[in-house]
């Protein structure tokens, strides 16, 4: 695999909780090569989502730097960061988070509204994305009319529609039955292979992690070598 596309360098993240300052990430360093499918595991509260948010440019580290490609995203202003996210990251949520009043088509189209594209170009990209996730026949369905697995496919289509280099997924199969979960994982693997995307996925499910190239374990804000099993199955 090639040079790292994501570089997390000695990152600290503090949260203020009341008068107390909680250190959630404690000097974390991580490289993710271009095209890798990385799984992040760890007990609840270990800082997985926090780390993912930093990598996706949804939050900024208290200390340290986060680089994605040529961009030091921890130094970008909020507005620049928003524009960067549109083009460079696709985010897949555990609870899909589709907009309930919009159809599958319109949900996938949302990020494209932020780019200087013609209606025809947008249409082309939306149809391609929905085709990739196998939902070409559900364009006009609303989220409420789709199964969980189908909603997550729409969520994935929305994440890849702008053709980002990086896809981050926070427990994408956490809310699905095991069959749908396997289908979603297969889809992610396939996308990575056919489109050469870099995927970072947080999961609690060892079977999901098994589909990734590499699994990193997080515990109390630092990466650890061995999984602390006792926590994972609490």
């Amino acid at each position: 695999m090639s040079s790292p596309i994501v570089r997390v360098i000695d990152v600290h993240k503090y949260f203020q909780r009341g008068s107390e300052r909680v250190e959630v990430l404690k000097g974390l360093t991580l490289d993710v090569p271009q095209g890798e499918f990385l799984a992040l595991m760890g007990p609840s509260g270990s800082g997985k989502t926090t780390l993912l948010n930093l990598i996706a440019g949804l939050d900024r580290p208290s200390e340290g730097e986060v680089w994605v490609g040529p961009e030091c995203i921890s130094a970008l202003s909020e507005t620049r960061l928003a524009a960067w996210r549109t083009r460079s990251v696709g985010f897949v949520f555990q609870f899909y988070h589709l907009i309930p009043v919009l159809t599958a088509y319109e949900n996938v189209e949302l990020p494209l509204l932020l780019l200087p594209l013609s209606a025809a170009q947008r249409r082309q990209q939306v149809l391609t994305a929905l085709d990739l996730v196998g939902l070409s026949d559900r364009l006009t369905h609303r989220p409420g009319q789709l199964s969980g697995g189908q909603q997550q496919r729409v969520g994935i289509a929305r994440a890849i529609v702008t053709d980002p280099t990086l896809i981050v997924a926070d427990e994408p199969t956490g809310d699905l039955d095991s069959r749908s979960a396997q289908e979603i994982l297969a889809l992610l693997v396939e996308l990575r292979e056919s489109l050469n995307k870099t995927i970072i996925m947080v999961t609690h499910d060892p079977r999901a992690a098994a589909r990734a190239h590499r699994t990193q374990h997080l515990d109390k804000g630092v990466l650890v070598d061995a999984p602390s099993m006792s926590h994972d199955f609490e």
Binding site: N53, E78, R85, T86
Partner: protein, 417 residues
């Protein structure tokens, strides 16, 4: 605009709430538009014109003004004495004599009360506001009525509202038992109607009829003149070309030796009306500085409430949009757009609807204040009504929009333990 569909769908999301907000907005905009109409009408009536201004000559020291009818002739000309003086042409003057009474002296009610202005019929279309500028077809119709008033001195012209109240029809005869001219009970034939609008509650007749009756009064009353005879002329209206002419006429009238007992004064219609409106000062002040702002504030709150709730409900969704790359100000635009669509759209509908219903369906708003009885919803008021309420919608949604702007993604999605 690509976001428009999104905004529209958001408004439609909770139809009941949007509908209730829209209904509230409509009611408020309705009231604001009416209030603004009345205010702008009064402003117009009391604002000084520079050209073609109307002046009112009244008794100087007393309200109500009662001048002897002998003043009429010379006053109508502007009381010129010297060759260089301004002489007001006949068409530019008008005398008013108020005659009031009841149709049923045994059972007097507001409905069978009738108050009419005795005047020269031909002045109806040269000197009366609005009637002097009718559209051609209305003018043609009304000039027929004027002709009847001239030909038949017992003729009476009524506004449609007045006619409805006394429950008579055009062509019928009525007898009025006078209240202010005791024993001068006049019989009238209703010969026609005022054009719809401003004069819906008014009545006018040929002054000749009243004055003849006053002249024959002594013959049946032991040679004594009618007790009101000293003051049967209430107002004289004069039209002058400009303020300069007004000042001259005013000096001519006020310095003329002809009018010493009682003395007279001459003022512009605007200032005359202003003086008259003094009595309503508190009411108008309240409408302008309390009622209107209060409505705007309430409107602000209605919108703030609806949009605030909708933003709070959608915090997660707004966070998702942020994740997708919507910038803080784009989220603000979405929320403000929603408020403007809801507030601005409905106020547009409401204001235009108000104008249509009041002006076209109801023929004006009945709101008797001073000597105005009917108000039309002015285009000014519609425009300001829309502007104010859209502004209120905007103001009301600023806080919710700011909170949408500041939605913290990491907070919304972290399961804070």
């Amino acid at each position: 605009m690509k976001f428009l569909k999104l905004i529209f769908k958001n408004v439609r999301r909770n139809l009941l709430r949007s509908a209730l907000t829209a209904a509230g907005t409509m009611v408020l905009v309705f009231v604001v538009t009416l209030v603004l109409s009345i205010l702008s009408f009064l402003d117009q009536a009391t604002s000084e014109k520079a050209q073609n201004l109307k002046t009112i000559v009244t008794e100087r020291w007393q309200i109500p003004s009662r001048m002897p009818f002998a003043y009429a002739q010379s006053l109508a000309e502007g009381a010129p004495r010297d060759p260089g003086d301004v002489r007001v042409p006949a068409a530019d003057s008008m005398t008013w004599q108020f005659y009031g009474g009841t149709l049923d002296p045994k059972n007097r009610t507001p409905e069978n009360n009738l108050f009419a202005i005795a005047m020269e019929p031909e002045k109806l279309m040269t000197m009366m506001d609005d009637l002097d500028s009718l559209e051609p077809d209305k003018a043609a119709a009304f000039s027929q009525v004027v002709a009847k008033l001239k030909a038949n001195k017992q003729g009476l012209v009524l506004g449609k509202e007045r006619l409805r109240q006394i429950q008579k029809k055009v062509g019928e005869r009525i007898k009025i038992f006078s209240v202010n001219y005791r024993d001068i009970d006049l019989e009238f034939e209703i010969v026609g109607l005022f054009p719809d609008g401003r004069y819906d509650s008014s009545a006018a007749f040929n002054r000749q009829y009243l004055n003849d009756a006053l002249d024959t009064y002594p013959a049946t009353h032991g040679g004594k003149p009618h007790p009101m005879m000293k003051g049967t002329l209430n107002l004289v209206w004069l039209r002058v070309p400009d303020r300069d002419a007004f000042q001259k006429v005013r000096t001519q009238v006020e310095s003329s030796p002809l009018y010493s007992n009682p003395a007279v004064k001459c003022e512009t219609a605007a200032s005359g009306i202003s003086t008259f409106m003094e009595a309503y000062r508190d009411l108008i002040f309240g409408m302008r500085y309390l009622l209107s702002p209060a409505i705007i504030v309430v409107l602000c709150l209605v919108i703030a409430n609806a949009i605030g709730i909708s933003v709070r409900e959608r915090r997660t969704e707004l966070a998702v949009l942020k994740v997708l790359g919507f910038s803080p100000w784009q989220l603000m635009i979405l929320v403000l757009g929603e408020a403007l669509l809801l507030g601005g759209g409905t106020s547009l509908l409401s204001a235009l609807g108000t104008q249509f219903v009041i002006n076209d369906l109801m023929g004006g708003l009945k709101f008797p204040i001073a000597f105005f009885s009917t108000f039309m919803v002015s285009t000014d008021a519609v425009v300001w009504g829309i502007a104010f309420s859209t502004g209120a919608a905007f103001l009301g949604s600023i806080l919710p929009a700011l909170s949408a702007r500041n939605v913290k993604v990491s907070e919304v999605f972290s399961k804070v333990a």
